[in-house]
Each structure stands twice: as C-alpha cells, then as structure tokens.
Subunit: 500 residues, 2 copies
C-alpha cells in the first residue's frame, strides 16, 4: 500500500496531461496554425499555463509530495518513485516562487512575440520586434528576482534548462574552450579553402525529404511513435513517449541544411522515444536537461552524420538520388565539403569548429541584457560587434543577425549555453561508448546503428529526467562535464581534413 | 459598470480556452497523431474535459450567471450579453446533471474507440469494434438517465446537437419527407440510367486538391483564418473564429468525392468564420446547432455546387485540369453525372434524392439501441435489413455498412438527424435568399459568390449560437423547420434532369 504516493501520482499524471496539451498547442502554432489563430491560441496557452501552474503550486500538491516521501522513506533513492518525488519537489518549490500573474503575462507576451518575430525576421526589421523583446527581457529580469538571492541574475534562468548548473561553472568551461577553438580556426583559415560549390546548387525538396527519412529510419527513429513536418525553425516536441514529433526546413541555397537538421532533430526525438515506459505521464518522461538533449542531437548530426564511415554507406545512395548534383563529386570531396570550416552568419548552419563561438556570443549578450548593461535598442549593434570580434564578419542585415533565432521570441533566455555544453557531452559519451563497442566505424559502413542506439538507450535515454545533468554525465562517463574530449575530437578531425 | 458580468465573462473566456484546446487535441488526433500517441492523447483529453466540466459546473459559475442576469435585467433580451447569459445558464444547468466521473469515462472510452474503429473499418471487422460500441451505448443510456424524466430516451441526446428540439417533432417531419422521397426515387429508377463512367476513372490527387482550393477560395473561405488537411473522415473544427480548419479525403474510384466533400466542409468553415467578433471566446462563437451547420454545408455542396449555373463557370476550368478524363464530356453530361440518383451504400457519397433515407435508418437504429430493443451484437444484421428495406441493397461487408461512419466511435449518438434537418433548412434559406438576391444564377455563372456569402453572414453566421435553431429559422424564414421547400427543390431538380 502506498496511498499517498498513489494520490501524488494521480495528481502528477493530471499535470503531465496539461503540459502535453500545452506542448501540442505550441507545436501546432509553429507547424500549422493560420495567422488569424494567434490571438485565441495565445489565450488558450495562457489559460492552460495558469491552470498547470495552479495545480503544481497548490498547497495540497506540496503536502502530498512530503507525505509520499515519508511513505517511501526506506526505498532505493534512485528508484523511479523516489526520483519522481525528488524532481517533483524541486519543480514545485521552484514554481511556488513564481506568481500565477507572471505565468499568464509571459505566455501572452511570448505568443504574440513569436508571430511578430516571424514577420520581423522575414522583413529583417528589428524595430518591429524590439518592443516585444523589451517586454520579454523585463519579464525575465522579474523572473530572476523571484529567486533572489543568486550569484548572478543569469543563474535562475540557466537552471530552468540545466538543473543544478551555475553560470560561473559554464563560464569556466567556456573559458577553456574559447582559446582552443579560436586557435584551431586560425590554423584552418591559413589552409587552402575547400570547394563545396556542389552544396550550393538547387536540390529537389522532395528527394531531400526522402533521403532524410531513409537515414533516420536507419538510425532507428520510430515512426509509429513520431512524425516529421516542416516549420520555420526546426524543433522537436514530445507529447508523451508515444508521440514525438520533429520538424525540418528546406533552404534552396544550402542543400546540407535540411539533411543535417533532420539528423539533429532525430537525435532529440530518439532520446524522447527512448525514455522508459515506467516514467510515462510524469515530468521524468523527458530528457535530463537541454544539454543532455543537445548531446544526443549533435551526436547523431555530427559525430555520426558528418563522419566518413557514415558516408561510406550513405553517399552512393545520396548520389543515386542526385546524379546531376553529385555524380562527379567523389566521396572524399563530399566529406570535406560537408565539413568545410568557414566563419559564417547563421548559428544553425555553422560548422563544428565555429559553432560554440556563436553560443558564447549569445550568452554574453543575454547576461548583459539581464544585468542592464546593454539595452534592447542597442542589441543589433552589439550583436554585429561581437560577430566581428569573434568571427571576423558583419551580418548584412538583422534577419541574418540578431533576428535569426526563435529562442528570445519564445522567452528562452538562458537556453543557448546548453547547445555548447551538449557538444562537449556528446564527445564524452562517444569516448566511453567507443570502448564498449569497439567496431563502431565498421557498423556505420554497413548502415548499422542499432548497437549505438541500444547503448544510448541503456545508458542515457531510459533514465529520462531522473537524474540532474551533471549527475547523469558522471554516472555514464565517470567525470563531470569536461571540454577535453570534444576539443580532442575537433583537433583530430580537422587536422586530418585540413592537413594541419 | 457591470462587475458581475465582467467576472462571468472572464470565467466564460477561460472555459472557452479549455474547449479550444480540447478541439485542437481532437483535430490533431484525426489529422496528424501517430498511432503510438493514442493512450496519452486519451489521457490528456480526459483531463481537459474534466477540468472544463468542473469549471462549468462550479457553484461559483452558476452564482455568477444569476448575479450577472440581475445586473443586466433591463437590457435588450436579444443583446449579445443577455444571450450569453441565457446560453450559459442552459449549458450549466445541463452540465450540472452530468457527474464528472461520467465525463472522464466517456472521453477515455471514445478516444480508444476511435482508434479501434479506424482499424475495424479498414479490416471490415465489426467484432473488433463491438465491445467499444457496447460501452458507448451504455454510457449514452446512462447519460440520458441524468435528464429524466424525458418523453423518449433519445430526447436528451438530440438536445445536445439541436437545442430545444424534440424527437417527436423530428419524427413528424421525417414522416412527411420519407414517402415523398421514396416516391421520387421510384419514379427515377424507372428512367434510363445516367452514364457517369467518367467520374469513376483515376483523377490526379494534387489537381483535385488544387481545383477544390480554387472553388472554395471563390466561395470566400478565408485562408488567413483557416486551412485544409486530409483525414479519414472529412470534418470541420474551429479553435475560435480566427482559426477554422476543414479536412477532405481522396477516393481513387470516386472523383467527385473529394471535391464535394471540400465544398461541404467549406460551408461549415465559412459559417464558423462568419460569427461576429463580439462573440469571441464564448460558447456563442459557434453555429446555432448541427442542423443549422448542415444547412450551410449542404447549401454550398448541393444547392450551389451541384447546380448548373455553378458549373457553367467552373466546368471549363475543371476540364482544363483534367483534359484526359473530361475533354469529351460536355457540360450537360457532366451536370447529369454528378446528379445521378442511385441507391448506394455509403451515406457521405449518397445523392440528394437518397441521402435522407440513410439518416432515417441511422436514427431508427440509434433509438432501438438506446431503448434496448436492439443489441449491439445484432446491429450489423439490423443495418443490412434496413438497407434492403429502404434502399433495396445489401452491404457486401461491414466496412461499407455499419462501420462506415465515425460518429458512434466518437460518442455522437443523436447527431445523425441533424444532417437531414440541415437539408430541409438549406432549401428554406435558399427560397428567402432568392427573393432578396434575384439574379443569383447569373452571379454563379460569373463565379460571383460574395452576395450569397454576405447575405448568409448577415442573416445567419454573425449570430453564432445566440439563438436556438428553431428560433433562428423562424427569424430568417418566418416559419419553423419545414420540409416543403426541400421537397419542392428535389422534385423540380430531378424532374428536369430525369424528364419525369
């Protein structure tokens, strides 16, 4: 008998249902919703967010958690039930500090901002988006204030995406990464430029879509529990373990864009699909953190999808689909082309050597906005200055600059660092996995991905959000988040490609 | 100052938001959801239905309605506010009789049943669906019991779709219609058979889709506040006036199927899009009843879409899209082909002369199931017997027989009569409109539909659900629901086509 726990579980299930509904309203907004639906959708999202928040922060919920904790006292602290209590308590305690009024206001502001951002980005018109971003920054500053005292105003925001992680830790890791990547880029820029002209001619959209589907089916994406659609900004959304959806987009000038975005989102999607059924309808039925999530997406996109063994199998298949574009491009030229390093404007199109610098730029601007040392009106210029300082290039317009990411319009400030942390974790996991599965490269050359996916499901996916990110990384790799494996991976890979 | 009314309005808006979210979860379930999502979707729908029900039936809501009614006492009884109070009071009083437990059970049962029905229909396997339908019939019997005393067990169910309407009234109307339609069909069956072979050869799906879009754009469907998708069973769903979605389907053997289903759903969709903005986020932002809704869909599908003036404009355009199929078919042969009368198996494909008989069959079976004089296990045989008696044909399998409609799997028992009532109302509206707009036919021949849509918006659409169906029909046509205009329309049309 676990009466209190069962009551708690019923309440948690109901709250999970509400957040599943919110997730669908959000997914539909980006994939399907006609323009005219924005106002009512904003209202519906605000209402559900308020109801979810009320249920999470109701005194009875807090009391149930404590009663259930007493009931389960002697059990395994790593059991699903014990972890459910722990994670729920953390979430409830955090939520209790946020007024319902703020939740509603934030949901409304971000729903409107997203629609405006789409237009602003298309027109490259920052002035259109500015008042909405000002509102969002003010809301986020207020949000941080609910969690005072903090070491830095960025901490409470980061904590939403990386439970338990501190800004100072991230900055220390980034300070180790930055000089090494800058040094690597300098070395590469001195070498002959790789010719990737064959990637910048038109590729038929339907055939691109089909090839992506072929690859992620081989990876193990479960179509019975998922689907793929198109959207402006590719993303993954789960509505429970049985329905995990990914999106992609097509850019006529960048053939590789849709493919690698499909592989990337597939990595996210397979993580969600791999969560243990036992965690269904609870907040544990999700990734451990955004960085862990990104470790999965970047692993499938880059460590697998931009590797030579992967293309040994798939390149002839791609050539068969695009004989006009690739018939005269040999495997090694293709491999070098998709791994070309070049400081560029758009984060999601950035190569592995420059990607983390895009992230560091955003994190620094976010911190400055929140601390008040930078005003939203000065953001486009600050963006462009950082681009010049970090990558030596200036965006020709704000659409390709400060307006490029969907995150701020959705209120996701504090999220960006997780992308770079994900890169680092992906290499840590890879190193451990390579010891467990010694012939990975041979498997890829045969189109075999089941051993990799099985390992990842066992070590990472099935645990869902039971463990905090640093805890899970420690469990699997034996160390905390560590930049060395990724730096080693980058240097090895590009030394070979660029003959450094 | 209308303090109580404003409080009521805020509460009504919140409830409308919840039902908008439920509508989206339902739409997505039919259009997008992968099979694996069924369980979690069922849970989410059940939870939201329970929350909506709790808010509707909370004692504070009932009290607010009464307080707001006192506050508004002296105002116009037909004002938006007065009608909002009236309709809300009706809904709350009705809902108060339904236990929350029943709502949850019903949502779960119908979500599962819909998934099973899709499979059962595809496999033509009634046994698979039977236990689910038994559960649904039992739930509906229990539902009716909450509203005792009633004249007949069918009354409370019918009232959900036709507020204020009684089973006995519907039966009286149907008793007037049945012999006249049977007589008409007999006369037609004695005439030479119309050749419509050109409709039963393959038509390219993409071109069918494009032609449908061209027509409903001309009708006035607002794409900025709507979209069209594919689904197993075509339907219309609104998530507020700004986002109204229709679906269609393609049947390789029946070229006319997708087109007329698109026109039909467009009629529903334009009704929802035409509701006054003042009624937004309230239960009034919807059609007055299912019969009124069907009057709109059938009007655009049949009175417009199967008329000669319509095709005088659009047939050359259709021929240009399908030169192989229609190049040698002249306008009159095409017109006769799409109006061919032939007793057939599937309701949604039935011609205008036989359609109502499909409805009467379903209503009689529903009443027998609810009264207990027919058991679900005997339903397929009863269905087939009725088909023989009414239309002289026997379904070759249950997929084309008793399993053809989505309604029962969704718990929509009591809904079918509204289809036939809608046919009757469409002709009543047409007769009045034809007096106000004397040159309708000339307009159709030019592809002009704005005057028709404007008239319908002014007379019907903008009122939303402010008035009960009989009240609105009386307001616009000066009489209650009346079979004569429709019977006159049928006899005139088919006398011409069949030279009776």
């Amino acid at each position: 008998m676990a009466e209190k726990f069962d009551q708690l579980k019923a309440s948690i299930n109901e709250i999970a249902d509400i957040y599943n509904a919110i997730a669908l309203l959000g997914w539909d907004q980006q994939v399907n919703m006609p323009h005219g639906g924005a106002e009512d959708r904003g209202n519906a999202l605000a209402t559900l967010a308020r109801i979810g928040h009320q249920k999470l922060t109701a005194p009875e919920t807090g009391q149930l958690i404590e009663d259930a904790a007493v009931e389960l006292d002697s059990s395994d602290p790593d059991s699903d039930d014990a972890r459910l209590i722990k994670v729920s308590r953390r979430e409830v305690n955090k939520r209790a500090k946020i007024p319902a009024r703020w939740i509603t206001e934030n949901a409304r502001a971000t729903t409107t901002a997203q629609t405006v951002w789409e237009e602003a980005r298309a027109k490259s018109d920052f002035a259109l988006f500015r008042p909405h971003l000002e509102k969002i920054v003010a809301l986020k500053q207020e949000y941080a204030s609910f969690f005072e005292p903090y070491d830095t105003i960025y901490d409470p925001l980061l904590d939403d995406y990386e439970p338990g992680m501190k800004t100072a830790e991230v900055q220390a890791i980034f300070n180790e990464v930055r000089p090494r990547q800058v040094e690597l880029i300098k070395a590469i820029v001195d070498r002959p430029v790789i010719d990737d002209a064959f990637l910048h001619i038109p590729y038929d959209e339907k055939s691109q879509w089909d090839f992506g589907v072929e690859v992620i089916s081989a990876f193990g994406f479960d179509w019975n529990r998922g689907r793929q659609d198109k959207s402006v900004h590719p993303f993954t959304q789960s509505f429970g373990i049985g329905d995990v959806r990914i999106t992609t987009r097509f850019d006529p000038d960048r053939a590789a864009s849709a493919l690698f975005s499909t592989l990337h989102e597939c990595g996210h999607g397979m993580y969600e699909q791999g969560v243990s059924q036992n965690l269904r309808r609870t907040p544990l039925a999700s990734g451990a953190s955004m960085a862990l999530h990104e470790s999965q997406s970047r692993l499938w996109e880059n460590l697998v999808g931009r590797s030579l063994p992967f293309w040994k199998y798939f390149y002839p298949r791609l050539q068969a689909k695009f004989p006009y574009q690739l018939g005269n491009v040999d495997l090694m030229s293709f491999y070098q082309g998709i791994n070309k390093v070049e400081p560029s404007l758009v984060r999601v199109e950035a190569d592995e050597a420059t990607y983390n610098l895009h992230i560091m730029l955003r994190m620094e601007l976010e911190i400055a906005l929140l601390e008040g040392s930078l005003h939203v009106k000065d953001l486009p210029e600050a963006w462009n200055e950082h681009m010049r300082a970090y990558l030596g290039i200036t965006p020709p317009n704000d659409g390709l600059g400060v307006l490029q990411d969907v995150h701020w319009s959705s209120g996701m400030i504090g999220y960006f660092p997780t992308y770079a942390l994900g890169n680092l974790i992906s290499a840590q996991l890879w190193d451990v996995m390579s010891m467990d599965i010694p012939n990975l490269a041979e498997q890829f050359e045969q189109g075999e991905y089941l051993p990799l996916l099985t390992w990842m499901r066992e070590k990472v996916h099935r645990h869902g959000a039971k463990f905090e990110p640093e805890e899970l990384v420690q469990k699997v790799t034996g160390s905390r988040i560590d930049a060395k494996p990724y730096l080693h991976y980058l240097v090895t890979k590009y030394s070979e490609i660029y003959n450094l």
